[in-house]
Amino acid sequence: MASLKALKIRINSVKSTQKITKAMKMVAAAKLRRAQEAAEAARPYAERLEAVVSSIASKVEKGPQAPKLLAGTGKDDVHLFVVATSDKGLAGAFNTNIVRLARRRAEELRAAGKTVKFYTIGKKGRDQLARTYRGDIVHSIEPGDLGKLGFDSVQEWASDLTARFEAGEFDVAHLFFSKFVSVLTQEPTEIQLMPVAVAETGAVAATAGASVEYEPDEEEILADLLPRNVSVQLLRAQRENAASEQGSKMTAMDNATRNAGDMINKLTIQYNRTRQAAITTELVEIISGAEAL
């Protein structure tokens, strides 16, 4: 049986851990609200751009002169996985879930005889992927605080990726991130980043019927819009990730706080029992001493 003093120290240490996890949970809750707002603010732009790109893309012929970003390289041998995670841990299974999905998809493509390379955004994702695919990571980015990320830095990554694509480093790019469904649920998601996946139906109807004037012509507008679409997809992924990270962190810290509470209760009971046992022993000693006289 642990001594009274040891138990007391233990209880105090768990209590201070609980204070920390509680504070982290509240910080995550506050950040989550802001991240969620940012994710929602980015939505109108992404939706409109997607609608416009789809409607123009359906009008442009996929001939040899079509932009590479739309038509692709004509092969699908080399795949690039853009894995977006965060720089920080302590967010439950947030990073692990994204990496797990990427890893599973990579194994599938490898089994089909394709080459898979990685382009990591976020320290945690890189560290986890480096365990098995060290040689295949072509570039890593450390984005810092996901919530404070602006469009400018995302644009830099997008132009880097586009340049690599134009140079023929890879044929297809996939983007992995965690979609924010609710505070309790975040869904690891994969989307095709390059070549641009165009919805064949749906948005086309918006402009159909009316004769639209293009200034300059469709091809030039498309050439201007496609790289922008890549940046917007990346930004959207970052925003979703930011919200998911905070949501996941909040849940994880809530669990930790509750576990600490349970542990404190258990330790307190043990502490009281030990104290009572000590008192009983003392009493027995006194009484038997008095009786002996």
């Binding site: 109108p44 409109r48 416009v52 009316a210 293009y214 200034e215 300059p216 507008i221 201007d224 922008r228």
Partner: protein, 85 residues
């Protein structure tokens, strides 16, 4: 009798209001958009001002935008810009 005008950046929805006229700095020249304009899609010159006339004859409000795209359809005018303001 007003034109519905929306200015959207990746960060947020900057404007969504009914105005009289908007002058858009297109790549091939400025063009004014009034209500009932024919459908147009146009890219936008970098570092140019959009002029917004809230009512006929009022002083225009200028918003500087970079890297953008304008679309006019029967619902109004939408400008997608990378930066605004």
């Amino acid at each position: 009798m007003a034109l519905h005008f929306e200015l959207v950046t990746p960060e947020r929805l900057v404007r969504s209001e009914d105005v009289h006229m908007v002058v858009v700095p297109g790549t091939e020249g400025d063009f004014g958009v009034l209500e009932g304009h024919m459908p147009v899609m146009s890219t936008i010159r970098s570092d140019a001002d959009v002029e917004i006339y809230a009512t006929a004859g009022s002083q225009p409000e200028r918003i500087k935008i970079t890297g953008g795209f304008a679309e006019v359809n029967d619902k109004g005018l939408t400008i997608l810009a990378e930066h605004a303001g």
